[in-house]
């Protein structure tokens, strides 16, 4: 190839570049077609598409999401239409999941309950991951004293047992006698889950950042004059986000379970909100006489949690190049 630096005008440069293209296309025509930009993400996607656990979990999650968005697709029965005549009736052709104490259709309520459960799960996950990631990446990149302060701060929250912490927070916020509104109680449940869970995301992000910041490309970016903010959010974040994403998928399932736990204890979502947790909580006194009241909503929670855990596992395997 000619000496490109000695070319004075842009036209010459383009000509030589074009010549290069020509030349290369003659040399290997075949590889031109197969070669498409493949990143970590597209590699992971290719890997995932061939994984049965991923497909299964994705289908389950898709159905549940659909349920949360349009519950009326699955049932035409009003979840708040009580018929006391049918109280505690077992499952039948009429009502597949039977009726609960108030004579509500359990199937209809399970379909409508997906929304509240999923909302709590999604919001709590987003909040947990956001808080955890930001603090984690700062702690991981920062100088040692700030890292120590942030890490100890996270340790304080990590040290609080989840259920105990949530009971304390939610009972403090709501006096036993009052009945908080729907939006308020959802917000409170989401916040208390996030406040008690962010240290996990923070630790994952921090350790990923500690590894990534040793890489030469961080030094190279600094060496080319990139600002610290740019390095952290532009260069580090894409390299550290994978393990946190994996945690997020698993956490989403866990948080749906946490919603059920808190509702069962009577401090989380509560009627008139319809959620799986609320349904389990309502079945509390009738396990023996009407087990269907417990089994169906509990089954939905279990399957949803399982689907997200399976998804998280599959994503983790796909994003870890060493597991291939």
């Amino acid at each position: 190839m000619s000496d490109p630096g000695s070319v004075s005008g842009g036209a010459g440069l383009e000509a030589s570049a074009a010549a290069g293209v020509d030349q290369a296309s003659h040399v290997d025509d075949s590889s031109q077609k197969q070669r498409k930009p493949r990143s970590l993400w597209s590699d992971a996607w290719g890997e995932l598409r061939r994984k049965p656990t991923f497909i299964i979990s994705l289908v389950i999650i898709a159905v549940i999401v659909l349920m949360a968005i349009w519950p009326t697709l699955f049932t035409s029965v009003d979840p708040r239409a009580a018929d006391l005549d049918k109280s505690l009736q077992a499952p039948s052709g009429d009502a597949w999941f039977g009726y609960d104490l108030q004579g509500y259709d359990v199937y209809a309520r399970a379909m409508h309950g997906a929304r509240a459960s999923l909302l709590v799960g999604i919001f709590a996950t987003v909040l947990t991951v956001l808080i955890g990631s930001i603090i984690g990446i700062i702690a991981g990149y920062a100088k040692t004293w700030l890292d120590s302060v942030l890490s100890r701060f996270a340790d304080i929250f990590a040290g609080i047992p989840f259920v105990l912490g949530a009971i304390v927070i939610l009972t403090t916020l709501n006096a036993p006698t009052e009945n908080p509104g729907v939006a308020r109680i959802i917000t409170q449940v989401v916040l208390s889950i996030a406040v008690l869970s962010w240290p996990v995301a923070m630790r994952i992000m921090r350790s990923a950042t500690l590894v990534a910041k040793q890489q030469d490309y961080v030094k190279a970016a600094r060496g080319l004059g990139a600002s610290p903010l740019r390095i952290v959010f532009r260069h580090l974040l894409p390299n550290t986000v994978a393990p946190v994403l994996v945690y997020a998928t698993i956490a989403l399932g866990a948080f749906i379970g946490a919603e059920a736990t808190l509702a069962f204890l009577g401090i989380g979502l509560r009627p008139p909100v319809v959620s799986w947790g609320v349904m389990i909580s309502e079945s509390r006194d009738y396990f023996q006489s009407a087990p269907h009241m417990l089994l169906f909503p509990a089954g939905f929670v279990t399957i949803t949690v399982l689907a997200f855990v399976m998804l998280g596992d599959a994503v983790r395997d796909a994003l870890d190049p060493k597991s291939r």
Binding site: G5, P37, R38, Q215, A220, G223, L224, A226, R230, P238
Partner: protein
């Protein structure tokens, strides 16, 4: 500026001091752990503090001391004034971005170029470092490049802001011999074209002989000899350099056992008293163990930190 001169005087580590002018190549030669890369990273200001602290000294660039500047002012110099090439291009390129993006980013941020202009310039730069089919490869990821191509891409990246001084930290160590030669030729060519100063950090005497104008030989965190490249190869002025040259494989001494320097370089936390090279020096005598040798001026810009530098250079 009319005068594109930059005189950098770095006095880090243990009295390390060198300077580079426009269009000149200084080779910093030394074995692993002699402080070559640390010096380079100190100049760039990308050494982590802690653990690295600069206790005293100056780093002058375009006549101004970089160490007295604010962090933001120093950041301005990086990329535009001084750029650096790393040894392992695979780890020095961000795996999640395309090669093109990594070149374009600087142009967009520092030069305010539009996306299309930056892409055009990135292709030009890749073309300048002789990546075939630059237009097609600009949107490839680093792992899709071969080792030599990655190093070329790395060079293109460091040239994007037209630096006046390029620090190449063992740019060919991770490559095989034929590719090494290509990369060194490329660097030499680009340097000539752009009239850039270059600091070439290496432990490879062969690389040095081809490209460098002057050589600084480092040992245990200090410069033991500094000389013009021809002078150094003709008559080394320090026993360490002498031993290094003797340990090169030579065609005319085929079949004989290769000479080596016995022993290991001293740990930098425990440098022996006197001359740091004294435990391994073939010319050691009593003064070496007690007295740190002063810098001996051997004329023609040559210096050596040896008590008997004059004797060594005279090949006695």
């Amino acid at each position: 500026m009319e005068f594109r001169t930059r005189d950098g005087v770095a006095k880090v580590l243990n009295g390390v001091s060198y300077h580079v002018s426009a269009g000149e190549t200084l080779a910093v030669l030394g074995e692993s752990g002699s402080g070559k890369s640390v010096t380079a990273q100190t100049i760039m200001g990308i050494l982590d503090t802690p653990p690295g602290f600069i206790t005293n000294g100056t780093i002058k660039f375009r006549g101004e001391d970089l160490l007295t500047k604010s962090a933001d002012e120093r950041r301005e110099v990086r990329g535009e004034g001084i750029a650096m090439i790393f040894q392992d291009a695979l780890s020095a390129l961000n795996p999640v971005f395309t090669v093109g993006f990594q070149i374009e980013e600087q142009l967009k941020v520092r030069r305010g170029m539009s996306k299309a202009d930056a892409r055009k310039r990135a292709v030009e730069l890749l073309d300048q470092v002789k990546i075939p089919n630059a237009k097609g490869r600009v949107s490839d990821y680093p792992h899709q490049f071969s080792g030599g191509m990655r190093q070329r891409a790395m060079i293109a990246m460091s040239l994007a802001l037209d630096p006046e001084l390029l620090i190449a930290d063992e740019p060919t160590t991770a490559l095989d011999v034929t590719v090494q030669a290509q990369i060194m030729d490329l660097l030499a060519e680009i340097q000539k074209e752009r009239d850039m100063g270059m600091i070439l950090i290496t432990h490879d005497l062969g690389v040095v002989a081809d490209v460098a104008d002057r050589i600084s030989v480092m040992y245990a965190g200090r410069i033991v000899e500094h000389a013009d490249v021809y002078e150094l190869f003709r008559a080394p002025g320090h026993p360490y350099t002498e031993s290094l040259l003797e340990s090169l494989p030579r065609v005319d001494l085929r079949g004989q056992e290769l000479k080596t320097i016995k022993g290991l370089p001293p740990s930098l936390t425990n440098i022996p008293p006197g001359c740091p090279f004294n435990p391994r020096c073939p010319r050691v005598f009593d003064r070496c163990v007690t007295e740190v040798p002063a810098v001996h001026n051997l004329g023609m810009g040559r210096t050596s930190r040896c008590h008997i530098a004059e004797e060594v250079v005279a090949r006695d």
